[in-house]
Amino acid sequence: MIEFRFEGRPVAAEDGQSIGAALHAAGIRSWRTTRIGGRPRGLFCAIGACFDCLLTVNGTPDQRACQTVARAGDEVTG
Protein backbone atom coordinates (compact mmCIF):
# COMPACT_ATOMS: atom_id res chain seq x y z
CA MET A 1 0.00 0.00 0.00
CA ILE A 2 1.12 3.50 -0.73
CA GLU A 3 -0.44 6.86 -0.01
CA PHE A 4 -0.90 9.92 -2.16
CA ARG A 5 -2.80 13.13 -1.59
CA PHE A 6 -5.90 14.27 -3.40
CA GLU A 7 -6.66 17.97 -2.80
CA GLY A 8 -4.63 17.67 0.36
CA ARG A 9 -6.31 14.62 1.82
CA PRO A 10 -4.61 11.24 1.98
CA VAL A 11 -5.78 8.43 -0.30
CA ALA A 12 -4.49 4.87 -0.14
CA ALA A 13 -3.57 2.89 -3.23
CA GLU A 14 -2.29 -0.59 -3.87
CA ASP A 15 1.03 -0.95 -5.63
CA GLY A 16 0.54 -0.53 -9.34
CA GLN A 17 -2.97 0.81 -8.98
CA SER A 18 -4.02 3.82 -11.00
CA ILE A 19 -4.88 7.10 -9.34
CA GLY A 20 -8.35 6.85 -10.84
CA ALA A 21 -9.04 3.42 -9.39
CA ALA A 22 -7.71 4.44 -5.99
CA LEU A 23 -9.92 7.54 -5.90
CA HIS A 24 -12.96 5.58 -7.07
CA ALA A 25 -12.37 2.91 -4.46
CA ALA A 26 -12.03 5.61 -1.80
CA GLY A 27 -15.51 6.82 -2.69
CA ILE A 28 -14.25 9.85 -4.62
CA ARG A 29 -16.22 9.43 -7.80
CA SER A 30 -15.63 12.73 -9.49
CA TRP A 31 -12.68 15.07 -9.48
CA ARG A 32 -13.31 17.61 -12.13
CA THR A 33 -16.20 19.49 -13.64
CA THR A 34 -16.84 20.15 -17.28
CA ARG A 35 -15.99 23.42 -18.95
CA ILE A 36 -19.47 24.24 -20.13
CA GLY A 37 -22.08 22.74 -17.85
CA GLY A 38 -19.98 22.29 -14.73
CA ARG A 39 -20.94 18.61 -14.70
CA PRO A 40 -18.98 16.21 -12.48
CA ARG A 41 -16.63 13.74 -14.13
CA GLY A 42 -14.73 10.71 -12.87
CA LEU A 43 -14.06 7.28 -14.33
CA PHE A 44 -16.04 6.07 -17.30
CA CYS A 45 -14.09 3.80 -19.65
CA ALA A 46 -11.17 3.09 -17.29
CA ILE A 47 -8.86 2.31 -20.21
CA GLY A 48 -7.74 5.70 -21.41
CA ALA A 49 -10.20 6.20 -24.24
CA CYS A 50 -12.80 8.66 -22.91
CA PHE A 51 -10.66 11.33 -21.19
CA ASP A 52 -13.36 11.93 -18.61
CA CYS A 53 -10.96 11.26 -15.77
CA LEU A 54 -8.45 14.07 -16.32
CA LEU A 55 -6.70 15.57 -13.32
CA THR A 56 -3.46 17.29 -12.35
CA VAL A 57 -0.65 15.13 -10.99
CA ASN A 58 2.30 16.85 -9.32
CA GLY A 59 1.53 20.01 -11.25
CA THR A 60 1.20 18.35 -14.65
CA PRO A 61 -2.29 19.13 -15.90
CA ASP A 62 -4.72 16.92 -17.82
CA GLN A 63 -3.40 13.48 -16.98
CA ARG A 64 -5.74 10.52 -17.35
CA ALA A 65 -6.33 9.24 -13.83
CA CYS A 66 -7.06 5.74 -15.09
CA GLN A 67 -3.74 5.61 -16.96
CA THR A 68 -1.52 7.10 -14.28
CA VAL A 69 -0.09 4.71 -11.72
CA ALA A 70 -0.27 6.20 -8.23
CA ARG A 71 3.04 6.80 -6.53
CA ALA A 72 3.69 7.51 -2.88
CA GLY A 73 3.55 11.20 -2.19
CA ASP A 74 1.85 12.22 -5.43
CA GLU A 75 -0.01 15.50 -5.12
CA VAL A 76 -3.21 15.21 -7.09
CA THR A 77 -5.77 17.91 -7.79
CA GLY A 78 -8.87 18.05 -9.92
Binding site: R35, T60, P61, D62
Partner: protein, 368 residues
Protein backbone atom coordinates in the same frame (compact mmCIF):
# COMPACT_ATOMS: atom_id res chain seq x y z
CA UNK B 1 -23.95 28.84 -57.46
CA UNK B 2 -21.22 26.21 -57.59
CA UNK B 3 -19.82 25.76 -54.11
CA UNK B 4 -21.29 25.91 -50.61
CA UNK B 5 -18.15 27.23 -48.96
CA UNK B 6 -18.02 30.60 -47.30
CA UNK B 7 -17.87 32.37 -50.66
CA UNK B 8 -20.83 30.54 -52.21
CA UNK B 9 -22.88 30.90 -49.04
CA UNK B 10 -22.11 34.63 -48.77
CA UNK B 11 -23.00 35.14 -52.41
CA UNK B 12 -26.28 33.27 -52.00
CA UNK B 13 -27.11 35.44 -49.02
CA UNK B 14 -26.22 38.73 -50.72
CA UNK B 15 -28.15 37.72 -53.83
CA UNK B 16 -31.20 36.85 -51.77
CA UNK B 17 -31.03 40.33 -50.22
CA UNK B 18 -31.03 41.71 -53.75
CA UNK B 19 -34.05 39.63 -54.66
CA UNK B 20 -32.21 36.99 -56.65
CA UNK B 21 -32.98 33.36 -55.95
CA UNK B 22 -30.04 30.97 -55.99
CA UNK B 23 -29.63 27.24 -56.13
CA UNK B 24 -26.36 26.12 -54.59
CA UNK B 25 -24.67 22.99 -55.87
CA UNK B 26 -21.92 21.38 -53.84
CA UNK B 27 -20.61 17.86 -54.20
CA UNK B 28 -19.88 17.58 -50.49
CA UNK B 29 -22.39 19.86 -48.80
CA UNK B 30 -21.96 23.03 -46.81
CA UNK B 31 -18.38 23.83 -45.70
CA UNK B 32 -17.06 20.56 -47.09
CA UNK B 33 -14.15 22.24 -48.86
CA UNK B 34 -11.48 24.62 -47.59
CA UNK B 35 -13.99 26.51 -45.47
CA UNK B 36 -14.16 23.46 -43.23
CA UNK B 37 -10.39 23.07 -43.08
CA UNK B 38 -9.01 26.45 -42.15
CA UNK B 39 -9.48 29.15 -39.58
CA UNK B 40 -11.82 32.08 -39.33
CA UNK B 41 -9.71 35.19 -39.13
CA UNK B 42 -10.96 38.36 -40.71
CA UNK B 43 -7.80 40.34 -41.15
CA UNK B 44 -6.73 43.73 -42.32
CA UNK B 45 -3.42 43.52 -40.46
CA UNK B 46 -1.62 41.32 -42.97
CA UNK B 47 -2.62 43.23 -46.08
CA UNK B 48 -0.57 45.85 -47.87
CA UNK B 49 -2.34 48.91 -49.26
CA UNK B 50 -4.00 47.89 -52.49
CA UNK B 51 -7.14 46.24 -53.81
CA UNK B 52 -7.12 43.35 -51.35
CA UNK B 53 -6.94 45.71 -48.40
CA UNK B 54 -9.88 47.67 -49.83
CA UNK B 55 -11.86 44.49 -50.08
CA UNK B 56 -10.83 43.47 -46.57
CA UNK B 57 -11.85 46.78 -45.04
CA UNK B 58 -15.25 46.61 -46.69
CA UNK B 59 -15.61 42.99 -45.62
CA UNK B 60 -14.82 43.88 -42.05
CA UNK B 61 -17.79 46.25 -42.02
CA UNK B 62 -20.02 43.71 -43.68
CA UNK B 63 -19.14 40.97 -41.22
CA UNK B 64 -20.25 43.25 -38.41
CA UNK B 65 -23.55 43.81 -40.21
CA UNK B 66 -23.99 40.12 -40.93
CA UNK B 67 -23.53 39.37 -37.28
CA UNK B 68 -26.40 41.69 -36.49
CA UNK B 69 -28.67 40.53 -39.30
CA UNK B 70 -27.99 36.84 -39.16
CA UNK B 71 -25.48 35.98 -36.44
CA UNK B 72 -24.90 32.66 -34.75
CA UNK B 73 -21.40 32.21 -36.10
CA UNK B 74 -19.25 33.38 -33.19
CA UNK B 75 -18.20 36.72 -34.68
CA UNK B 76 -15.69 38.19 -32.31
CA UNK B 77 -13.98 41.54 -32.87
CA UNK B 78 -11.00 40.40 -30.84
CA UNK B 79 -8.27 42.34 -32.61
CA UNK B 80 -4.93 41.16 -33.90
CA UNK B 81 -1.47 41.52 -32.44
CA UNK B 82 1.55 41.20 -34.71
CA UNK B 83 4.71 40.70 -32.71
CA UNK B 84 8.33 41.34 -33.57
CA UNK B 85 11.21 39.27 -32.28
CA UNK B 86 13.84 41.95 -32.88
CA UNK B 87 13.97 45.77 -33.01
CA UNK B 88 14.68 45.62 -36.74
CA UNK B 89 11.52 43.60 -37.33
CA UNK B 90 9.58 46.00 -35.16
CA UNK B 91 10.82 48.87 -37.31
CA UNK B 92 9.65 47.03 -40.41
CA UNK B 93 6.25 46.28 -38.83
CA UNK B 94 5.88 49.89 -37.77
CA UNK B 95 6.65 51.07 -41.29
CA UNK B 96 4.18 48.52 -42.71
CA UNK B 97 1.45 49.77 -40.38
CA UNK B 98 2.32 53.40 -41.16
CA UNK B 99 1.86 52.65 -44.84
CA UNK B 100 -1.48 50.90 -44.19
CA UNK B 101 -2.72 53.88 -42.16
CA UNK B 102 -1.89 56.27 -44.97
CA UNK B 103 -4.14 54.22 -47.19
CA UNK B 104 -6.92 56.53 -48.30
CA UNK B 105 -10.51 55.47 -48.06
CA UNK B 106 -13.62 55.89 -45.99
CA UNK B 107 -12.60 53.26 -43.49
CA UNK B 108 -8.87 53.26 -43.06
CA UNK B 109 -6.73 50.82 -41.13
CA UNK B 110 -6.45 51.41 -37.42
CA UNK B 111 -3.16 50.27 -35.95
CA UNK B 112 -1.07 51.20 -32.97
CA UNK B 113 2.47 50.29 -32.10
CA UNK B 114 2.80 48.35 -28.85
CA UNK B 115 6.12 48.74 -27.07
CA UNK B 116 7.72 45.66 -25.55
CA UNK B 117 6.75 46.75 -22.07
CA UNK B 118 3.05 46.84 -22.96
CA UNK B 119 2.83 43.56 -24.85
CA UNK B 120 1.63 41.71 -21.76
CA UNK B 121 -1.24 44.15 -21.32
CA UNK B 122 -2.54 42.60 -24.51
CA UNK B 123 -1.31 39.05 -24.06
CA UNK B 124 -0.30 38.16 -20.51
CA UNK B 125 1.36 34.90 -21.54
CA UNK B 126 3.63 36.13 -24.33
CA UNK B 127 7.24 35.06 -24.17
CA UNK B 128 10.02 37.23 -22.80
CA UNK B 129 12.35 39.08 -25.07
CA UNK B 130 10.00 40.20 -27.82
CA UNK B 131 10.78 43.64 -29.22
CA UNK B 132 7.19 44.85 -29.43
CA UNK B 133 4.30 44.66 -31.82
CA UNK B 134 1.45 46.33 -33.60
CA UNK B 135 -2.15 46.05 -32.48
CA UNK B 136 -4.94 45.97 -35.07
CA UNK B 137 -8.35 46.38 -33.40
CA UNK B 138 -10.21 45.77 -36.67
CA UNK B 139 -9.06 42.17 -36.94
CA UNK B 140 -11.90 39.84 -36.02
CA UNK B 141 -12.83 36.18 -36.09
CA UNK B 142 -15.77 33.97 -37.00
CA UNK B 143 -16.43 30.24 -36.90
CA UNK B 144 -16.29 29.76 -40.67
CA UNK B 145 -18.33 26.56 -40.96
CA UNK B 146 -21.15 27.99 -38.87
CA UNK B 147 -20.96 31.23 -40.85
CA UNK B 148 -21.31 29.39 -44.15
CA UNK B 149 -24.15 27.23 -42.83
CA UNK B 150 -26.06 30.12 -41.26
CA UNK B 151 -25.72 32.39 -44.29
CA UNK B 152 -26.73 29.61 -46.63
CA UNK B 153 -29.73 28.76 -44.51
CA UNK B 154 -30.74 32.41 -44.19
CA UNK B 155 -30.43 32.84 -47.95
CA UNK B 156 -33.22 30.36 -48.46
CA UNK B 157 -31.23 28.89 -51.32
CA UNK B 158 -31.81 25.29 -52.20
CA UNK B 159 -28.71 23.15 -51.66
CA UNK B 160 -28.19 20.33 -54.10
CA UNK B 161 -25.49 17.86 -53.10
CA UNK B 162 -23.93 16.74 -56.32
CA UNK B 163 -20.92 17.49 -58.46
CA UNK B 164 -21.00 19.99 -61.29
CA UNK B 165 -19.45 18.33 -64.30
CA UNK B 166 -19.44 21.22 -66.73
CA UNK B 167 -21.20 24.35 -67.85
CA UNK B 168 -24.13 24.17 -70.24
CA UNK B 169 -23.09 26.51 -73.01
CA UNK B 170 -25.41 28.00 -75.63
CA UNK B 171 -23.43 30.05 -78.13
CA UNK B 172 -21.37 32.58 -76.18
CA UNK B 173 -23.25 32.25 -72.94
CA UNK B 174 -23.68 29.86 -70.07
CA UNK B 175 -27.20 28.59 -69.59
CA UNK B 176 -26.67 26.38 -66.58
CA UNK B 177 -24.65 23.46 -65.31
CA UNK B 178 -24.60 19.74 -65.86
CA UNK B 179 -24.58 17.93 -62.54
CA UNK B 180 -24.54 14.39 -61.32
CA UNK B 181 -28.28 14.82 -60.80
CA UNK B 182 -29.13 16.29 -64.15
CA UNK B 183 -29.04 19.69 -65.76
CA UNK B 184 -29.78 22.89 -63.90
CA UNK B 185 -30.65 26.03 -65.85
CA UNK B 186 -30.12 29.55 -64.56
CA UNK B 187 -29.88 33.14 -65.72
CA UNK B 188 -26.41 33.30 -64.27
CA UNK B 189 -23.87 30.83 -62.92
CA UNK B 190 -21.42 31.77 -60.18
CA UNK B 191 -18.29 29.70 -59.87
CA UNK B 192 -17.48 29.67 -56.15
CA UNK B 193 -15.73 26.31 -56.26
CA UNK B 194 -12.72 27.47 -54.26
CA UNK B 195 -9.54 25.52 -54.90
CA UNK B 196 -11.29 23.51 -57.58
CA UNK B 197 -12.71 26.52 -59.42
CA UNK B 198 -10.07 26.56 -62.12
CA UNK B 199 -10.81 23.15 -63.51
CA UNK B 200 -14.00 23.64 -65.50
CA UNK B 201 -12.84 22.90 -69.04
CA UNK B 202 -14.91 25.55 -70.79
CA UNK B 203 -13.60 28.41 -68.65
CA UNK B 204 -10.34 27.42 -66.98
CA UNK B 205 -8.66 29.67 -64.42
CA UNK B 206 -5.14 29.50 -63.02
CA UNK B 207 -6.14 28.56 -59.49
CA UNK B 208 -4.01 26.13 -57.55
CA UNK B 209 -3.90 24.64 -54.05
CA UNK B 210 -1.61 25.97 -51.34
CA UNK B 211 -1.64 23.55 -48.47
CA UNK B 212 -1.84 24.62 -44.86
CA UNK B 213 -1.85 22.76 -41.56
CA UNK B 214 -3.57 23.68 -38.35
CA UNK B 215 -2.77 22.17 -34.97
CA UNK B 216 -5.56 22.11 -32.41
CA UNK B 217 -4.77 22.05 -28.72
CA UNK B 218 -6.77 20.66 -25.88
CA UNK B 219 -9.65 22.84 -24.73
CA UNK B 220 -8.98 25.41 -22.03
CA UNK B 221 -11.50 26.81 -19.55
CA UNK B 222 -9.77 30.15 -20.18
CA UNK B 223 -7.50 29.95 -23.21
CA UNK B 224 -4.13 31.62 -22.70
CA UNK B 225 -4.36 33.58 -25.96
CA UNK B 226 -6.75 36.50 -26.35
CA UNK B 227 -6.11 38.05 -29.76
CA UNK B 228 -5.02 36.62 -33.01
CA UNK B 229 -1.29 36.70 -32.45
CA UNK B 230 1.25 36.20 -35.18
CA UNK B 231 4.82 36.96 -36.02
CA UNK B 232 5.99 39.33 -38.72
CA UNK B 233 7.18 36.41 -40.83
CA UNK B 234 3.53 35.58 -41.50
CA UNK B 235 3.07 38.69 -43.60
CA UNK B 236 6.04 37.88 -45.80
CA UNK B 237 4.98 34.24 -46.15
CA UNK B 238 1.46 35.20 -47.16
CA UNK B 239 2.80 37.32 -49.99
CA UNK B 240 5.57 34.95 -51.03
CA UNK B 241 5.78 32.90 -54.19
CA UNK B 242 7.99 30.16 -52.82
CA UNK B 243 7.17 26.55 -53.69
CA UNK B 244 8.66 25.01 -50.60
CA UNK B 245 7.47 24.90 -47.04
CA UNK B 246 7.05 28.16 -45.17
CA UNK B 247 5.85 28.38 -41.61
CA UNK B 248 5.23 31.22 -39.23
CA UNK B 249 3.64 31.34 -35.83
CA UNK B 250 -0.06 32.21 -35.97
CA UNK B 251 -2.01 31.55 -32.82
CA UNK B 252 -5.50 32.20 -31.62
CA UNK B 253 -8.11 30.73 -29.38
CA UNK B 254 -11.65 29.79 -30.33
CA UNK B 255 -14.96 30.11 -28.54
CA UNK B 256 -14.78 26.40 -27.90
CA UNK B 257 -11.71 26.88 -25.73
CA UNK B 258 -9.11 25.34 -28.02
CA UNK B 259 -6.07 27.15 -29.34
CA UNK B 260 -5.48 26.94 -33.09
CA UNK B 261 -1.90 26.98 -34.24
CA UNK B 262 -0.87 27.75 -37.82
CA UNK B 263 0.32 28.57 -40.29
CA UNK B 264 2.13 26.64 -42.94
CA UNK B 265 2.17 27.15 -46.67
CA UNK B 266 3.28 24.55 -49.17
CA UNK B 267 2.56 23.86 -52.80
CA UNK B 268 2.22 20.13 -53.05
CA UNK B 269 -0.84 19.73 -55.24
CA UNK B 270 -4.14 18.41 -53.96
CA UNK B 271 -2.52 16.37 -51.23
CA UNK B 272 -3.77 16.72 -47.67
CA UNK B 273 -1.58 14.08 -46.02
CA UNK B 274 -0.30 14.84 -42.53
CA UNK B 275 3.38 15.74 -42.25
CA UNK B 276 4.59 15.60 -38.67
CA UNK B 277 7.70 17.62 -39.52
CA UNK B 278 5.50 20.57 -40.40
CA UNK B 279 3.32 20.08 -37.33
CA UNK B 280 6.43 20.00 -35.16
CA UNK B 281 7.62 23.29 -36.65
CA UNK B 282 4.26 24.86 -35.91
CA UNK B 283 4.45 23.59 -32.36
CA UNK B 284 7.93 25.03 -31.94
CA UNK B 285 6.84 28.44 -33.13
CA UNK B 286 3.79 28.42 -30.87
CA UNK B 287 5.80 27.49 -27.80
CA UNK B 288 8.35 30.19 -28.65
CA UNK B 289 5.57 32.79 -28.56
CA UNK B 290 3.58 31.28 -25.70
CA UNK B 291 5.79 29.19 -23.42
CA UNK B 292 2.75 28.29 -21.30
CA UNK B 293 1.62 26.07 -24.13
CA UNK B 294 4.66 23.79 -23.84
CA UNK B 295 3.15 21.30 -21.40
CA UNK B 296 -0.31 21.51 -22.95
CA UNK B 297 -1.49 18.87 -25.33
CA UNK B 298 -2.46 18.79 -28.96
CA UNK B 299 -5.45 16.67 -29.83
CA UNK B 300 -5.86 17.11 -33.51
CA UNK B 301 -4.44 18.46 -36.74
CA UNK B 302 -5.84 18.99 -40.18
CA UNK B 303 -4.80 20.25 -43.55
CA UNK B 304 -6.65 22.47 -45.98
CA UNK B 305 -5.98 23.69 -49.50
CA UNK B 306 -6.05 27.42 -50.02
CA UNK B 307 -7.13 28.44 -53.50
CA UNK B 308 -4.45 30.74 -54.89
CA UNK B 309 -4.07 32.66 -58.09
CA UNK B 310 -0.77 33.76 -59.66
CA UNK B 311 -1.00 37.32 -58.33
CA UNK B 312 -2.51 36.30 -54.96
CA UNK B 313 -5.66 38.29 -55.62
CA UNK B 314 -9.06 36.66 -55.71
CA UNK B 315 -10.83 36.20 -59.00
CA UNK B 316 -14.13 38.06 -58.90
CA UNK B 317 -16.36 39.12 -61.75
CA UNK B 318 -17.80 38.15 -65.12
CA UNK B 319 -15.94 35.60 -67.18
CA UNK B 320 -14.14 37.07 -70.17
CA UNK B 321 -15.13 34.20 -72.46
CA UNK B 322 -18.68 33.24 -71.63
CA UNK B 323 -21.55 35.52 -70.80
CA UNK B 324 -23.70 34.91 -67.69
CA UNK B 325 -20.78 33.18 -65.98
CA UNK B 326 -19.27 34.87 -62.94
CA UNK B 327 -16.30 33.83 -60.86
CA UNK B 328 -15.90 34.27 -57.11
CA UNK B 329 -12.89 32.23 -56.15
CA UNK B 330 -9.15 32.17 -55.55
CA UNK B 331 -9.17 33.88 -52.14
CA UNK B 332 -6.17 31.92 -50.93
CA UNK B 333 -5.73 32.34 -47.17
CA UNK B 334 -8.29 35.12 -46.80
CA UNK B 335 -11.52 33.72 -48.16
CA UNK B 336 -13.37 33.85 -44.88
CA UNK B 337 -12.42 37.44 -44.33
CA UNK B 338 -13.09 38.53 -47.90
CA UNK B 339 -16.32 36.61 -48.54
CA UNK B 340 -18.94 39.28 -47.72
CA UNK B 341 -17.34 41.99 -49.87
CA UNK B 342 -16.85 39.45 -52.63
CA UNK B 343 -20.54 38.62 -52.43
CA UNK B 344 -21.45 42.29 -52.51
CA UNK B 345 -19.35 42.77 -55.63
CA UNK B 346 -20.76 39.73 -57.42
CA UNK B 347 -24.30 40.75 -56.54
CA UNK B 348 -23.74 44.23 -57.96
CA UNK B 349 -22.29 42.73 -61.12
CA UNK B 350 -25.16 40.31 -61.59
CA UNK B 351 -27.92 42.78 -60.82
CA UNK B 352 -26.30 45.70 -62.64
CA UNK B 353 -25.63 47.70 -59.50
CA UNK B 354 -22.44 49.63 -58.85
CA UNK B 355 -19.85 47.85 -56.74
CA UNK B 356 -18.58 49.56 -53.57
CA UNK B 357 -15.01 48.43 -54.20
CA UNK B 358 -13.37 48.80 -57.61
CA UNK B 359 -13.68 45.36 -59.22
CA UNK B 360 -11.10 45.94 -61.99
CA UNK B 361 -8.08 44.42 -60.18
CA UNK B 362 -10.04 41.21 -59.55
CA UNK B 363 -11.28 40.72 -63.11
CA UNK B 364 -10.94 37.12 -64.29
CA UNK B 365 -9.68 38.32 -67.66
CA UNK B 366 -6.43 39.58 -66.16
CA UNK B 367 -4.69 36.25 -66.70
CA UNK B 368 -5.74 35.97 -70.36
Amino acid sequence: MIGAGIVGASCAYALMRAGVRATVVDRGGVASGTTGAGEGNILVSDKEPGPELELALRSGELWRELDEECGGFEWEPKGGLVVAETPEVLDALTAFAENQRRHPGPAGVVASVVPATSLRDFEPHLADGLAGGVHYPQDAQVQPMLAAARLLKASGARLVRTAVERFLVAGDRVAGVRTGQGDLYADAVVNAAGTWAGSFPQAPLPIRPRKGFILVTQPFAVPPVRHKVYTAAYVTNVASDAEGLETSGVIESTRAGTVLIGASRQRVGYDTAIDYRVLAKLARQAVALFPVLADRQVMRAYAGLRPYSPDHLPVIGPDHRLRNLFHACGHEGAGIGLAPATAEMITAQITGGSPRVDPAPFAPGRFA
